[in-house]
Amino acid sequence: LAPWVPVVGLEIHAQISSNSKLFSGSQVQFAAPPNSLVSFFDASLPGTLPVLNRRCVEAAVMTGLALNCSINKKSLFDRKHYFYADLPAGYQITQQRVPIAVNGSLSYSLCIDNKMSQMVTKTVRIKQIQLEQDSGKSLHDDTRSQTLVDLNRAGVGLMEVVMEPDMCCGEEAAAAVRELQLILQTLGSSQAVMAEGQLRVDANVSVHHPGEPYGVRTEVKNINSIRFLAKAIDYEIQRQIEELENGGTILNETRAFDSKLGCTVPMRDKEGKQDYRFMPEPNLPPLILYDAKSLPANMNHQQVINIDWIHERLPDLPSVKRKKLVEQYGILPEHSFTLLNEDGLAEFFESVVKRTQMKPKKVIGWILKDLLSYLKQHSLTVKESPVSSFLLADLLNLLEKKEISSTAAKQVLAELWKGEGKTPLEIVKEQKLELLQDQKELEQICQAVIDGHKNEVIMMVLG
């Protein structure tokens, strides 16, 4: 049986982290009373016009630069038409012809065979990044056969990041999305929290035999977490392979991932191939960006976006941060991945290292094995840890100074988790965990043991 090559591409929508919406001055906020964050423009009342939010453009430029894209100094806005209750205008303003950024790349890492010690770096090409409006939210009330519409989200700025079909499985897609999420959070251009809908991923999946043309692809939507992303893609790959091996065909359709059943199902309301009748947005002239060379002399500062200025102020991206951690502290690359993967863990680690004489290479073990596993067990974030970096540093100092044994240290740590406000030293004294340093005292104890077990001693001496 000929092998199958799965092909996976992604379309990711990241909500821009801004105070107000892309084309209007209403507020961007998760969970507010329905229709309270809606302006006349968002509700598509006649006579309203879009006014572009500068912050949204900056967010898109930052993201484009971080993903090694070419930033288009002139980009255009278009209308994409379709009817849906949560799209009051009947069209979405997007960038179909000339988006703000194109031709970038994203590098991400994978563990081979689930072994963290063997990591491989892969790259996925970024086709483009475009600015576009988010739609409102539809709440389906099946019992009363109606849909309730909340326009609070309508008009919020989105960056759509299109990843070329360079990935081959759920694991690669999940790793790529995770890295993108970290980058967006580092830049601050999006908080990228999937659970709050700030990062939405649609996967395009197809399979083919090596050397043959690409197969028909399906689009998988409704994926709510990175874990489900991997599951959904792997399920869909399997489904397509089985379908084709049984002599069936793949339909070019949109499918939804059902997380409860762990499978993909065709989506309802699919009216055949959509014709979006793209047209230029007549109310918005082209978006012009500048760099140091092309900066116009006599223009209002506030009306100018300078790509180079933004580039100079980009923070260290996760890949750079990891490299610095490895170089500065002598930890392993896979350690740096785990440190950056947990919000606040890298800062916690550095804080402990600063306050202890213990070598970072030893500290990392306590952070990744003891602290992290405890947090995971109790579903706590680093910020919620009952053990602060100060407390852990104090404990590690006791261990480093050989005032307690490593076993005792673990015992103290277990006590510290209770968060009762005791210091490591107090716990050591309470539980009498101090290592005996006095030679005479040790001899006395050993002698007492030998005296108390004369028979056993004779047995041992006789062999």
Partner: protein, 109 residues
């Protein structure tokens, strides 16, 4: 050159317009003929124009301040039906019935 019934039906479905009668369809065909005159101009190597502003930068950039919203009551005044400050819509798109299923002039053509 006539516009086919398939295209007319497709347009009605996409834009929810109603060509209504022969006169409506004729008006569409005349509009297409009028626009087709564009093809008489040689536009090889010429970028399509979609704004007379061309390269004159004019797109105003707004500061990221919250200046609007909080007018739920006003917005809902326009709604025929509402449920606790939500707009009410049918459960899904109600597609235009297929050509065979509706009484339309297009049927006869």
């Amino acid at each position: 050159q006539k516009v086919s019934v398939e295209v007319l039906e497709h347009l009605e479905h996409l834009a929810l317009v109603d060509f209504r009668d022969a006169e409506g369809v004729e008006r569409l065909q005349k509009a297409i003929q009028f626009a087709d005159q564009l093809h008489e101009v040689n536009t090889d190597g010429v970028e399509p124009m979609d704004s007379v502003l061309e390269d004159r930068w004019c797109l105003y950039l707004r500061e990221d301040d919250v200046t609007e919203g909080n007018c739920t009551k006003e917005l809902l005044e326009n709604a025929r039906e509402k449920v606790e400050e939500y707009f009410v819509a049918p459960p899904g798109n109600i597609p235009l019935p297929k050509l065979e299923e509706r009484e339309t002039f297009l049927q006869g053509s």
